[in-house]
């Protein structure tokens, strides 16, 4: 039923017991699925606001983008591509784990989830190594707002991924305690959805951080800054 027809109802007419209404037993994990949608909306708003402030801040003279000139760290973005590949592998492993969970094949599920977790942790470690590398090159947090945004956005993204790993661990523990069942695929599907969502968020962060000044200025102009 569309939102408009719901809001158009005249509830004072026709008193009767409508046997409609979401039912936790009819749709398992319906509540968790709804909550996940809201979580993804909230995280999207959070990153959207960071992006908007990034674009606004980029229009001040002290802002020096991290790509564009040969001496800027992300003019050669191969390190970031490598990290992206790690996160993509994690998403892929997650998807494979989910597929096996739907078929209720335990070894496949365990290896899928195991690899998803390992690649996610590797991604975090690689991000941390990148931090150290930039720091050693003299790109300190406070020396330029573009640097500040690099550390800030990667940190916030990393924290959300750590939250995802914790949620996955919780789901997996419950699964192992209660033994394999096809229903397990549903909460695992929610984890996978969050994983893919964070991958998309990372792609946007990646694109923004490696943009050249001309691109950033064009985006900022589109936003009216």
């Amino acid at each position: 039923m569309s939102l408009f027809s719901v809001l158009g109802e005249k509830p004072w007419l026709n008193p009767s017991a409508v046997l409609e209404g979401p039912d936790e037993q009819a749709i398992p994990y319906a509540a968790a699925s709804t909550a996940l949608r809201f979580i993804m909306a909230i995280v999207s708003v959070l990153f959207f606001l960071f992006f908007i402030t990034f674009l606004s801040r980029s229009q001040y003279p002290d802002f020096q983008a991290l790509a564009g000139q040969p001496w800027q760290p992300f003019s050669d973005s191969s390190r970031l591509w490598m990290n992206t590949a790690l996160l993509a592998m994690s998403c892929l492993a997650m998807h494979i784990g989910l597929t096996f969970a739907r078929r209720a094949w335990l070894p496949g599920v365990v290896s899928g989830l195991g690899f998803a977790t390992i690649f996610a942790i590797l991604f975090l470690l690689a991000q941390f190594a990148l931090w150290q590398e930039l720091y050693e090159l003299g790109f300190y947090v406070g020396s330029n707002p573009a640097n500040s945004y690099f550390y800030l956005l990667t940190a916030v993204h990393g924290l959300h991924l750590i939250g995802g790993i914790a949620a996955l661990a919780w789901v997996a523990t419950h699964f192992l305690q209660r033994h394999a069942s096809a229903v397990f695929a549903i909460p695992l599907g929610l984890c996978a959805r969050y994983w893919h969502f964070l991958f998309v968020v990372w792609l946007v962060v990646f694109a923004l951080l490696t943009s050249e000044p001309a691109t950033i200025n064009a985006l900022a102009a589109m936003c009216g800054f």
Partner: protein, 585 residues
């Protein structure tokens, strides 16, 4: 453990038996609601005392040695932040949202009870961190509740080192707590309504809380973003908001950030926050008015649409708080227009409340008095908002008492009137006991007339140009001496109103001791929370089976019915069903 077999769940309901699981680490939404409520009221009383101290200084300057300019600014800041975030938001959503949502939609509890419990304890942590700032070197921040950089984190502002850090950390913790609670509220409304409880059969209280929670979930990230970025500016020397500047003759390391960017972020949260507080109040007052006027709410659908429309519009008006920051005239025009448009659904709501009372069977109970009082205070506060929404009128009035009077009427006094209406209305359900009516009426009249004695003259001071946030006026030519007499009278009224809240506290605790049983559904209300088997409702809310809903929430004084109200879960006879089918045809 007591085991109850439930028809709607495969698992049995485990009722907690030990004191700790029942009252401290409780996952029951009703206990969590009371925990939220008591914490919010406690911290609100701290803020009330701070406002009393501010008024003492303003009414009788040079009298109180312990209030110096720094302390005054700290009182202003902490009073504002506590009242808006830690009292109103927490009590309306954490308190009443928690208590009423599962009961009103016919659920056994929130859908994620553990997360709900965590939400309260994280909220308590944020309150403790906030209050800790009173005890750190330099005291709490005195940056004003808007915490504008650059001054908020620079030397010269009270609490610029520890106070501001604790404030920002506390806000971040609060947002985490709110998000955990908020996810519960929206998901419970969407996924755990009982059979027959369609969205449009929900009481307006739930519509208000539901929409406000969505606003909160989407607006608080803006405050989180600004808190994180300012914290980094303060602690590790980034320049997100801090411009290149010289402070006390010394050039600072900041490289040229944008303070106005902070203002945009802050108000992108700050304006929806007004409606995060107002929408639950709109909902609750609608239910109190309909119940005590024994009449269906006028224009139910219009009321729902107005709540949704106000929620949507609240995201596109934020810069009307920033006219004096300087902006392109086209933006000023845009934000003034959206601000005035939001008055349309708001006015519809006010008309509908008045039309609900029209020819109703009005019972002047204590909750009804507060609800009617709200219509007055909200109308006055709302009308001055129309003045301030216009750029040309806002510019001269912006930094005066007129603004203080406006926002206190519209989002201080008005939601508090509704909170009192709600507490007097639902206290018999929450505790099972009656409150004393005489004390309640005394509390109402002192509060209602007292707040008018405070804020009505304040508008005139604003017209005179008396500036807000000033510790003392000194000798200012354009302000006549009589303004000081008015200021003194405002202080006396404020102290009387502050003290009269003791009547309320005495009533609450004395009624708990007196134990005069309220009985089942004392107001004759239709909504589900009053139809529980036990008063107050037990753990799990309902007996073995969930209630089944047949009616909307406002079947009052229906011609031909036995009583002057039909509970939502009152089964319909075949004849009724056929008749209504015919009506519809």
């Amino acid at each position: 453990m007591q085991h109850i077999a439930l028809a709607d769940q495969t698992l049995e309901m485990h009722e907690p038996k030990s004191f700790v699981t029942r009252y401290i680490w409780s996952q029951d939404h009703k206990v969590i609601a009371i925990q939220y409520g008591l914490t919010a009221i406690f911290v609100g009383l701290v803020a009330l005392v701070l406002s009393g101290l501010m008024r003492l200084q303003l009414g009788f300057p040079d009298t109180f040695d312990f209030i110096d300019p720094s302390a005054y600014l700290q009182f202003v800041t902490m009073h504002g932040m506590i009242m808006v975030i830690y009292l109103l938001t927490a009590l309306l959503l954490g308190g009443f949202g928690n208590y009423l949502i599962p009961l009103m939609v016919g659920a056994r509890d929130m859908v994620f009870p553990y997360m709900n419990m965590l939400s309260y304890w994280v909220y308590l942590l944020s309150v403790i961190v906030l209050l800790a700032s009173f005890f750190v070197p330099g005291g709490p921040t005195g940056a004003g509740w808007t915490l504008y950089p650059p001054q908020a984190i620079l030397q010269g502002t009270p609490g610029y080192d520890w106070g501001i850090i604790l404030m920002l950390v506390s806000l971040a913790i609060f947002i985490v707590a709110f998000t955990m609670g908020g996810l519960n509220y929206v998901t419970t409304v969407l996924q755990a309504r009982t059979h027959g409880m369609t969205l449009m059969r929900m009481p307006l209280t739930i519509w208000g809380i539901f929409t406000a929670t969505i606003l909160g979930l989407l607006a608080f990230p803006a405050l989180l973003v600004s808190a994180i970025m300012m914290l980094l500016d303060k602690t590790i020397g980034t320049s997100f908001f801090m411009p290149a500047l010289v402070s006390l003759g010394e050039s600072l390391d900041y490289t040229g950030g944008s303070p106005v960017l902070f203002q945009h972020l802050f108000w992108f949260f700050g304006h929806p926050e007004v409606y995060i507080v107002a929408l639950p109040a709109f909902g609750m007052v609608s239910d109190v008015l309909a119940t005590h006027a024994r009449k269906n709410i006028f224009g139910y659908r219009m009321m729902v649409w107005a709540i949704v429309a106000i929620g949507g519009l609240s995201f596109v008006v934020w810069a009307h708080h920033m006219y004096v920051s300087g902006m392109h005239p086209a933006f000023g025009f845009f934000f003034a227009t959206t601000t005035l448009i939001i008055a349309v659904p708001t006015a519809i709501k006010v008309y509908n409340w008045v039309l609900t009372l029209w020819r109703g069977n009005i019972h002047l109970t204590v909750p009804m008095l507060f609800a009617i009082g709200f219509i007055f205070t909200f109308t006055h506060g709302g009308l001055t908002g129309l003045f301030l929404g216009n750029v040309t009128i806002d510019l001269p009035l912006s930094d005066t008492y007129f603004v203080v009077a406006h926002f206190h009427m519209v989002m201080g006094v008005s939601p508090i009137m509704v909170l009192f209406a709600a507490i007097y209305h639902w206290y018999p359900l929450i505790t099972g006991y009656n409150l004393h009516v005489g004390l309640g009426k005394a509390h109402f009249w002192l509060t209602f007339l007292g707040t008018y004695a405070i804020y009505l003259p304040m508008h005139y001071l604003g017209f005179l140009g008396v500036p807000r946030r000033y510790f003392a006026m000194g000798s200012t030519d354009f302000i006549p001496e009589s303004a000081q007499s008015l200021n003194a009278s405002i202080t006396v009224s404020a102290l009387i109103v502050g003290l009269s809240q003791l009547i309320f506290l005495v009533n609450i605790f004395w009624s708990l001791r007196r134990k005069e049983a309220a009985g089942h559904n004392p107001w004759g209300a239709t909504s589900l929370e009053w139809q529980t088997e036990h008063v107050p409702p037990h753990h799990g809310n309902w007996g073995p089976e969930l209630p089944r809903v047949y009616h909307w929430a406002y079947d009052y004084s229906v011609p031909g019915s036995e009583h002057d109200f039909i509970p939502q879960n009152h089964p319909i006879s075949d004849a009724e069903g056929t008749a209504s089918e015919e009506d519809k045809a």
